[in-house]
């Protein structure tokens, strides 16, 4: 598989300037998404994974949020240097996005067909009629039965799974180069989740779209992604191929995360390995490694200075003093 970079994010910093202080939600994040691959960003709430994704589309609410540093090179140009008009042409066309809550992500007062057609009208300049026909075809592609009838429905008339299919239809309508999927299945039941993941895989195969998958569910990562980056408290702590990371997690946080999910093939009622403590308050991140208060092996150095992301074996990178010592 050729490794042709589509999106290259370098040292991205998105901070929120609130009444209570500055929240460094994304604090120097770098990664690359290659053409045709699926990169997963995994992390818990407050890790900055969603802000990373909205930063790419420059949709961080401002105020209070602001991208203060970094570059986002997409198809060889820096998105941060583009005007708002240029961004609008890219959004929904070259890069599109689906969101966690299919319930609230669709406009409740417009018919779903119109909401899909809108993308065609914006980016393909189609008239109302043509756009609607394309929208119906798109609905069919995402597996919605009797799409003509459904196009006239309002979102509340659809089930959660159907709504997420509509969201996917909107996102893929203009055949984007990059699809950002922010927790696309979190709100869905497992059997529906399986349907949606299956659909996404199928569509990706058809169109060679790159996917940036944001999730907290390592199971979804294992099933969907080629590579994964693990975020904690606004920073990337580990990056690598899915197979490698699941087999050999290097960062204590990644290890803890993998260990704390009960697995069907585990023995029942064993005490789960877990990460003690809570996610730190973003206003008062600890000095040194941000994971140090919860890290079972943290040493003095971990409390003093921040580790950088360093390449380890093969494609795997990790930001941990413990690993450096190990090398």
């Amino acid at each position: 598989m050729e490794q042709q970079p589509l999106l290259k994010v370098t040292n991205l910093k998105t901070h929120f300037f609130t009444d209570d202080g500055v929240v460094p939600a994304v604090d120097g994040v770098s990664f690359t998404v290659n053409v045709g691959e699926t990169l997963a960003i995994v992390g818990e709430s407050g890790s900055g994974k969603s802000v990373t994704s909205t930063s790419i589309l420059r949709l961080v609410p401002s105020p209070p949020g602001r991208i203060i540093d970094g570059s986002i090179i997409f198809e060889d140009t820096d998105l941060l240097g583009k005007t708002e008009d240029e961004m609008q042409r890219i959004r929904g066309d070259r890069i599109s996005m689906i969101f966690q809550e299919p319930m609230t992500s669709l406009n409740p007062v417009h018919r779903v067909g119109e909401q899909i057609a809108e993308a065609y009208r914006l980016h393909r300049g189609m008239d109302k009629h043509e756009a609607m026909q394309r929208a119906v075809r798109m609905l069919e592609r995402v597996g919605i039965p009797s799409p003509e009838k459904r196009a006239g429905d309002f979102p509340h008339q659809l089930s959660g799974g159907m709504r997420q299919r509509v969201m996917i239809a909107i996102a893929l309508s203009c055949r984007p180069a990059l699809l950002i999927a922010d927790e696309p299945t979190t709100a869905l039941d497992v059997t529906i989740q399986a349907q949606i993941l299956d659909l996404m895989r199928k569509l990706q195969e058809e169109s060679r779209t790159s996917i940036l998958l944001i999730t907290h569910d390592l199971g979804v990562v294992a099933e969907m992604a080629d590579r994964v980056i693990v975020m904690y408290a606004g920073k990337v702590v580990e990056e690598g191929d899915v197979a490698a990371i699941f087999k050999n997690p290097l960062h204590p946080y990644t290890r803890g995360l993998l260990g704390s999910i009960p697995r069907l093939d585990w023995r029942r009622r064993t005490i789960l390995p877990s990460i003690e403590g809570v996610v730190p308050n973003p206003l008062e991140f600890p000095t040194g490694c941000r994971f140090n208060p919860r890290c079972p092996d943290a040493g003095a150095k971990c409390r003093e200075s921040e580790p950088a992301l360093k390449e380890m074996t093969g494609s795997q990178k990790v930001a941990c003093w413990l690993m450096e010592r190990g090398c």
């Binding site: 949709l59 609008q88 599109s96 969101f99 669709l106 406009n107 409740p108």
Partner: protein, 315 residues
């Protein structure tokens, strides 16, 4: 939808029944004797007693109520004690004038309020936003009758631009002739609702543009303005409609004060005088009519919801 409409209209019956009982009770429990009012301070005790009997006021209250109700249901709303005329045509004619004023004021309030609210929301913290929100606060804080008097003073006396009383120039009628007359009262009346609507629209839009589907629209490639226009506004209007509906009620009420100030020939003066004169049939008629229309306005608002918000169905 039709069955819902019918149900809602049927629902009017108990509400209006309650209203009628309440107003009848209040009026008849109130001290003061309509016979005394008719005959004036120079009336003698015998003539008072005679008139009370003629008006049926010597009967027990519940009987009076039943009589009145029976007649009202047959379209006979009685005759005003003070104005000597039949209540229904009298009140209907005056109420029409009140409605004209209210509608004008509503139109003014809605257009000014919506516009100011929308522009303020899209340009949050701009000069326009700040000026119009301060203006809205001022509009909210001015007593309507006081604003009316000030308007009269400025536009009527100092600038001599507009008439300050009545509805038509002498001997005239029709819409064109009414226009200069309605401007000042409509402005006075619309100040408060316009302020409320502007503030509501602004905060509603600001609330809506935080919603997920607005982010979806932006991610689709819509501009900020396009998003507000195509996606935020209709959603934002849903709570605004409730407020508009309530404001129309307040307008009907505020009209009483404005009508006094501008001598607008609506139900306001009729009502206040009617109460002072213990003109039972008149006051009862007015309240029944106004309440009916008020409830109908609310029904209209509910129907407007279905248009704005497809999630609401009344079937």
């Amino acid at each position: 939808m039709l069955s819902y409409l019918i149900k809602r209209l049927l629902y009017l019956i108990p509400v209006l029944f309650g209203v009628s009982v309440l107003v009848f009770g209040i009026m008849h429990l109130a001290p003061g004797d309509p016979a005394q009012v008719i005959l004036g301070p120079k009336a003698t005790a015998q003539s008072l007693a005679k008139l009370r009997a003629e008006l049926g006021l010597d009967q027990p209250v519940y009987k009076q109520y039943l009589n009145w109700m029976a007649n009202v249901l047959q379209g006979d709303w009685g005759r005003s004690i003070q104005m000597k005329r039949e209540v229904l045509p009298l009140v209907a004619g005056r109420f029409l004038n009140t409605l004209v004023l209210t509608l004008f004021a509503a139109l003014l309030a809605i257009s000014v309020g919506l516009l100011a609210g929308i522009v303020s929301a899209t340009r949050q913290y701009s000069v326009f936003d700040r000026v119009s929100m301060v203006g809205a606060l001022v509009g909210f804080c001015l007593p309507v009758f006081w604003l009316g008097i000030i308007l009269q003073f400025i536009f009527g006396l100092k600038l001599n631009m507009l008439p300050v009383s009545g509805m038509h120039s002498p001997g005239h009628s029709g819409f064109a002739d009414m226009l200069p007359f309605i401007i000042l009262p409509a402005i006075a009346l619309s100040a408060e609702p316009a302020a409320v609507i502007a503030r509501m629209t602004r905060s509603s839009i600001l609330e809506v543009i935080r919603q997920d589907y607005i982010r979806t629209a932006r991610a689709k490639g819509l501009s900020q303005g396009g998003t507000i226009w195509h996606h935020a506004l209709k959603n934002a209007l849903i709570p605004v409609v409730t407020v508009v509906g309530m404001q129309i009620g307040y307008l009907l009420a505020g009209a009483v004060l404005v009508e006094m100030v501008f001598s607008w020939p609506g139900i306001g003066t009729l009502m206040v005088n009617g109460i002072i004169a213990r003109d039972f049939p008149l006051v009862q008629g007015i309240i029944l009519l106004v309440s009916t229309s008020y409830v109908l306005v609310n029904l209209l608002v509910d129907i407007l919801y279905t248009y704005l918000d497809p999630r609401i169905t009344y079937d």
